[in-house]
Symmetry: C2
Subunit: 409 residues, 2 copies
């Protein structure tokens, strides 16, 4: 007998038929005497429908009221799933976030969970109920409804697993696990049996859309075992996200390749090479609420250097304007150039720590294909390069092959 928190996303509960499928799966676990807490998202499309309705009233909907409204999406899902379980003669009870006192701060539309009252849920589990909790939502200390932001249902699942000391938090989604890379780009991409939290964080933040990054951070912080599985296929093992490197650890040097076309690069040319210059450039950008991803400053010469960074493509024009108007005149930079036709490709793996030459192998592989590298950053367990966006798929494919990712271990 084990204790699982299972989270089903919007696609998994996207219709009455799919909700019945989820109920059948949960009922099987319940019949095997496992204790089950289920976290569900809103039916796919519902959150967007509600936001569109809000925008008919107010262009920039009031965040407190938007949370009141959007949280109804998950509330409908929990009731439907409870009904579906009862139709299968499984004892089930649904709860909204506020009902099980998922206490958050008051940052409406992007609140953070502070505490969960486990008593009610544990009492129901002991009485043999499947407990269904609305994902994505909670309440603040004043009793106002809050939401955790997009993808927050994963975070609810992990937070519940931590608070209830569940054996595992199972994230059911429309893929059957974490892959070495996107199978739409590399058909030979292979499902990983396990991946470390650190690797998963790098994969998630680099563009792999399977898990929401905050939920992975949360799971790492509270040592919650996470497993990603398919809600459409029959019980495969999925991918386990572990916090111990040697637990079921595969011996590959790198685990996966992440990539995205979401970014744009900006280079400030001929910047005076003195202390504080990075802050002078990026301070006004951060003040405008623009997130910066890669930051590169090379060794200068003649007291001048070039300073490059990447931002989200949507922020490109705004960032160029800020630099040209607010920064260039002050610091006397020669020019500001940039472009948004770039892609970032990253190889990720904890094995890099103990294997030298991984980065140089990556650069060699790309060079052999004639792919020019525009920017490079590295961390302990990843190497990211920026290339022309037209080479993205090619780069991913040749790297996937060169690092033997298609071989089952």
């Amino acid at each position: 007998m084990a204790f699982y928190v299972q989270k089903y996303g919007g696609t998994s509960v996207g219709s009455a038929e799919r909700i019945k499928n989820v109920a059948r799966r949960v009922a099987r676990f319940h019949a095997d005497n496992h204790q089950i807490v289920v976290v569900v998202s809103a039916m796919s499309g519902e959150t967007n429908r509600l936001i569109a309705l809000a925008k008919e009233i107010q262009n920039n909907p009031d965040p407190r009221e938007l949370d009141v409204m959007v949280s109804t999406g998950e509330q409908v899902s929990i009731a439907l799933l409870a009904m579906a379980l009862k139709a299968l003669n499984v004892k089930a009870k649904s709860y909204t976030g506020p009902q099980v006192k998922i206490l958050t701060d008051s940052a409406h539309t992007k609140a953070r969970i502070l505490n969960i009252d486990a008593d009610k849920i544990l009492a129901d589990l002991n009485d043999g109920y499947v407990v269904i909790v609305a994902g994505f939502q909670g309440m603040d200390q004043y009793g106002s409804i809050t939401t955790l932001g997009r993808g927050g249902s994963d975070t609810t699942g992990v937070a519940l697993a931590a608070a209830l000391h569940a054996d595992e938090c199972q994230i059911y989604t429309d893929v059957d696990g974490i892959y070495t890379t996107d199978p739409r780009v590399v058909p030979e991409a292979r499902r990983l049996n396990s991946i470390t939290f650190e690797e998963m964080l790098e994969m998630a933040s680099l563009g792999s859309k399977v898990l929401q990054i905050r939920s992975v951070e949360f799971a790492g912080k509270y040592k919650v075992k996470l497993r990603v599985l398919s809600s459409f296929e029959d019980e495969g093992p999925g991918t386990l996200i572990t916090f111990e490197e040697n637990e079921n650890m595969e011996q590959a040097v790198i685990s996966g390749i992440a990539f995205n076309k979401d970014e744009a690069k900006i280079t400030v040319l001929g910047v005076p090479d003195h202390p504080g210059i990075a802050y002078q450039i990026l301070g006004p950008v951060a003040d405008a609420g623009i997130d910066v991803d890669m930051i590169i400053q090379n060794v200068g010469h003649d007291d001048l250097t070039d300073f490059s960074f990447t931002v989200h493509r949507n922020d490109f024009d705004n960032t160029i304007r800020i630099i040209k108007e607010k920064i260039q005149p002050h610091i006397g930079a020669r020019d500001v150039i940039g472009g948004d036709k770039i892609a970032k490709v990253s190889i990720v793996g904890v094995g890099m720590r103990s294997h030298a030459g991984i980065a140089s192998k990556m650069f060699r592989i790309l060079a052999e294909e004639g792919i020019n590298i525009q920017m490079i950053t590295t961390s302990e367990i990843k190497v990211s390069v920026v290339v022309d966006e037209k080479y993205m798929e090619l780069a991913v494919r040749v790297l996937h092959k060169a690092f033997d990712l298609e071989q089952a271990l």
Copy 2:
């Protein structure tokens, strides 16, 4: 400065545009320094949409879970109205039923309000907020979401007005008040400036759909002044429902004519005329959950009598079957006859108490038109007759004219 609880029904908040209209009206009251608590229903059609979705999962949806689901309809409305008020720079805050601790019993889908915690609302009013509360919903002592049943938003409005000691509970609807009868049948029907609770109860239960009968009972019990107004037209006075007969009382003998075609009649012929016979006939009918409306037993002769009653048309076949199978053989009745092509027409008015001959005038008017009366019942303030349904509109029109209801007083 006055303190109003205003309730807006589903049609009044049926679209973004209509919600903005409601917000403009509320904003005007707020600008005039009135304190306003607004109760809203779900957008028209939304409750039915949710129930249909539930039925895709479970034919007979679990009542607890149905409440979790259906209550989201009002939750969306309160958020939208709060947004619309904020867009007009009016301070506003929305609350679900559970958030303002509208405590009910646990009779899911038809719960009754037990208590309301006024503190939170009064504190917000004192801070200058318009407070918006979801109608139709509350929570039971276990924290489960409950709903009050169809039309329950009126009850929420009245209960809040009672708990908060508001000056008036204003029910905004798609008509501009209570009429002497349905204007679609009698174009000369006239809006009443006031009507007593007793009259309103008779009118509501007899088929006038403007106010939900439980809310009227509630208002009478807690001495809450109720006013029915139009949410589409500009500020008319509407109809005040008073608990004091002499307060603004019009001097008409009868106030209105109610009518419906919802019923069917059943007559048990040749019943032994002895004590307990009514119970022997109606006991099994009540046990089957069938509501009986009119009940008529005339003086018998030869130790036999005829026993008649009416039920809802939907229950007609079932009732006939119960009587024939379970009752007729036991009591040895000669025959069971009935029909559903009937209509009930009622004249209502507190003035009847002090005016003799009202009933006989009604019968004379109908006789002059050749309308045969099949059944009669009376109470202190109403006389109801059952006639062939094809004469219903004619009966209503001639009575309306004969009792001078089209004359403004």
